[in-house]
């Protein structure tokens, strides 16, 4: 049931801004008249750990979370996190991946090695994979933290979500002094997503 419900899974590292991106996403989807549910993680998991946020929308949404094989889109804020959460993606689902590596503590301390070929493995497994240097683009724009909104722009372009007024959604969720920078980040991500 609720076959027309769509699910977007945002995965990243605590502190990367998955929650802000999901706020903008949900504000946009609500303004478009969808029923929306969103689930986020707080507390212990935020301290540099792996985090995920889920956004679901449709005519009527029941569960705020999904299980394995249920996401239509995976937005990975970090390369290895894409692979970690890949099993939550539908076999025909799509992924947007920020092309950066953040070393987890076991790698930093030398107890493990960061895996090679994360992006290639994703491209081999899923037909729709967009890899974008979102962190680099945000850095060039002057604020590395805007990386999440660069990813949003790319997501909107790549998955044809243009019917929604995202700039208005950003205006509702992002503090005024940071808005201009984030609007530029959105445009840069949008241009890349084409």
């Amino acid at each position: 049931m609720t076959a027309n419900t769509k699910s977007i899974l945002l995965a990243g590292v605590g502190g990367q801004g998955t929650i802000l991106m999901s706020k903008v996403l949900t504000a946009g989807l609500v303004s478009a008249g969808y029923d929306v549910k969103m689930s986020e993680v707080h507390g212990m998991a935020q301290r540099g750990g792996s985090v995920s946020t889920q956004v679901r929308y449709g005519e009527k949404v029941y569960s705020p979370i999904i299980g394995r094989g249920e996401a239509d889109v995976l937005v990975a804020f970090e390369k290895m996190e894409a692979v970690r959460y890949a099993e939550f993606l539908k076999p025909g689902g799509a992924a947007v991946i920020n092309d950066i590596e953040i070393m987890p503590l076991p790698v930093a301390t030398g107890a493990a090695e960061y895996p090679l070929g994360t992006v290639e493995a994703m491209q081999h497994s899923f037909s729709k994979v967009l890899v974008i240097p979102a962190s680099g683009i945000a850095q060039k724009l002057g604020n590395p933290k805007c990386m999440n909104i660069v990813l949003l722009g790319a997501l909107v372009r790549a998955f044809r979500l243009e019917a929604i007024d995202w700039k208005k959604a950003m205006g509702e969720t992002i503090p005024q002094k940071l808005l201009e920078m984030n609007l530029a980040a959105f445009d840069a991500g949008y241009a890349y997503g084409g």
Binding site: D35, G49, P64, I65, G67, P104, T109, A112
Partner: protein
């Protein structure tokens, strides 16, 4: 308020809104994931209600209950394990009854996203003999709060509103209503009702059972219990977030009995529902709380025979459990490395644990907070973590065990944070002095309640409202207890940290250490931020710097490298480097506190 507009709220925001609309006037809580944002949002209504952070959950319940005795509607909120701390007054409040409406919110954490256990607090309702309300989305959080206050006043009882992480932290659309300002009855002393002497308690005991009979009758017709009849083939009884999962997992023609008022159970309603369906499932997260009672009433159902009784559920788990459907998934051919939470770069706890990690004869009883992460490799500087405030008292037990078994060479440290010190660490500090413990109590004072997302406490000098409050100096408390040698040290200065530990161990008089440096994430403080760099010519690849367990340092081509986007220039790694290969840009400054 514009009533037609829908607002996208988390369950926690909606609980706060519900309390506001219900005309609540006094609110007290201790922060804890996943409950914390209830009060962070409640304080937005501070013009019409009073909301505070209490030192612990027991205090919060007592304050809220006192307000109820004083005839104003009141609220206490906490995470699930906080209810253990607050259980004493809750059980007695159930006997006494209430003045005005009194609601306790328990936020449970199935799957232990941020907790030490996943206890199912629905059992507390039955144990304490108080009614249980379970919302399953944000709209229900708001609406059920208002009904909970009605129930509390109509039946003269505290009400337990039980949330779970996914109800607390999931957003869904909510319609607002106006706040209902309630007339407050003048306070009149009522000794038989509110003084729990055994003679009064014996009277209350009978009244309690009579009240439960009335609540059983209410449950049968409560608007919170809803039958959605869609046909006689399959029926599902469910509550809380499990209802939302079951709605997705079962086909359209499944009938549902959704229990928003889930204790005392409406057994007649359940019996009638069961009679109308061929096959009955009970879908609930964690314990078979509903199922056991339904089966005990002689009603046949399928529950934990198929549904897992551990960890949180989701639609896929329910589908697999009931229908045996395996989801189609793709697993990329690439290994992933675990990404556990870690102490942040520049975390003041790092220097403390680094110094203590060097000695094998140190035994360290830890506590609940960011500093619990001192247990993680490669620091691994912790022997036990049990509960809030337990750091000192568990250390006391360890030291007495070592004394009793001839293992006197071990040096025992008890560790609590500033918030846990005021929560229940103070009693442990008294215990160590009173019973001559061979323990060094250490308070890791980062000037905030860190892990839950930066809430104030009696040591920070600010209240929940943001107003300036009395700041209780931890060292003054310890001195007044009889710790004649209280050493205050900046953990970012490793030599000073080492000296503090050595001095405390050598002290002739009772010693304690206050390890003080504010968390770098506190926004109201101006921090001294910089960057460290590795001189690759001086670095010999000895990996000593990796032992400080900083996410900003790793090895590249045999030499240490610092990630400049993560580094904040705390210099702990530089002090750990035996070859002087790491330095802070612009000079070695900033290792001392501001």
């Amino acid at each position: 308020m514009e009533s037609c507009t829908k607002h996208l709220l988390t369950g926690n925001e909606a609980i706060a809104r519900g309390a506001f609309e219900a005309g609540v006037k006094v609110c007290s809580a201790y922060p804890g994931t996943p409950s914390t944002e209830i009060f962070e949002n409640l304080v937005r209504y501070k013009d019409v209600l009073y909301a505070e952070w209490a030192p612990n959950e027991k205090v919060a319940v007592e304050v809220a209950y006192g307000a109820s005795i004083g005839n104003v509607r009141s609220l206490a909120a906490m995470k699930h394990v906080g209810v253990n701390v607050a259980a004493d007054p809750i059980f007695t409040a159930a006997y006494n009854g209430v003045g005005a409406g009194f609601v306790i919110v328990s936020a449970d954490d199935p799957s232990m996203h941020s907790s030490q256990n996943e206890q199912d607090n629905r059992r507390y309702a039955r144990f304490a003999k108080i009614p249980l309300v379970e919302p399953s989305d944000a709209q229900e959080c708001k609406d059920f709060m208002k009904e909970a206050y009605e129930i509390s006043e109509r039946f003269n009882t505290p009400v337990l509103v039980r949330m779970t992480t996914r109800v607390c932290h999931s957003k869904s659309l909510v319609t607002f209503e106006e706040r209902e300002e309630r007339e407050v009855k003048p306070y009149v002393r009522n000794i038989p009702k509110f003084v729990c002497t055994p003679a009064n308690a014996r009277v209350h005991r009978v009244q309690l059972e009579e009240r439960l009979e009335e609540l059983r009758a209410y449950a049968e017709t409560s608007p919170l219990n809803v039958t959605e009849y869609k046909g006689g083939k399959v029926g599902v009884i469910s509550s809380s977030i499990a209802y939302q999962y079951a709605k997705e997992a079962f086909p359209e023609d499944t009938s549902f009995l959704k229990l928003g008022f889930s204790w005392p159970l409406p057994l007649d309603l359940i019996r009638a529902f069961a009679a109308r369906v061929e096959k009955l499932y009970v879908v609930e997260e964690l314990d078979p709380f509903l199922e056991e009672q339904i089966k005990a009433a002689g009603i046949e159902c399928i529950g934990k025979d198929v549904i897992p009784d551990m960890y949180e559920l989701n639609p896929e788990i329910v589908r697999r459990a009931v229908f045996g459907e395996e989801p189609e998934t793709v697993k990329p051919d690439c290994a992933v490395v675990a990404r556990p939470p870690a102490l942040c770069p520049g975390c003041p706890h790092r220097g403390f644990f680094y110094v203590l990690s060097k000695r094998k004869d140190f035994v360290i009883a830890g506590d609940i907070g960011c500093y619990t992460l001192g247990c993680a490799a490669p620091l691994s500087a912790m022997d036990s973590v049990v509960c809030m405030g337990g750091g000192f008292s568990v250390a006391m037990g360890l030291s007495k065990a070592f004394e009793a078994s001839g293992q006197d060479s071990k040096k025992v440290f008890g560790v609590v944070g500033d918030s846990t010190f005021f929560h229940s660490g103070m009693t442990g500090a008294a215990e160590i002095i009173y019973n001559k413990g061979k323990v060094i109590p250490c308070v890791l004072d980062n000037s905030i309640t860190g892990m839950t997302g930066h809430q104030d406490n009696p040591g920070t000098g600010y209240a929940l409202s943001g107003e300036i409050a009395a700041r209780i100096p931890i060292e003054d408390v310890l001195k007044s207890y009889g710790y004649q040698n209280v050493i205050i040290v900046d953990p970012q200065d490793l030599a000073a940290m080492q000296k503090a530990v050595d001095d405390a161990l050598a002290s002739e008089v009772p010693a304690a250490i206050v390890v003080r440096r504010p968390c770098l994430l506190i926004k109201r403080i101006k921090h001294d931020i910089g960057k460290c760099t590795v001189d690759r010519d001086k670095c010999r690849g000895c990996k000593m710097c990796l032992k400080v367990a900083c996410p900003a340092i790793h090895m590249r081509e045999g030499k240490a490298e610092i990630d400049r986007t993560l580094c904040v220039g705390c210099t702990v790694c530089a002090q750990a480097c035996p070859f002087g290969a790491i330095s802070r840009d612009g000079g070695p400054s900033a290792k001392k506190g501001e």
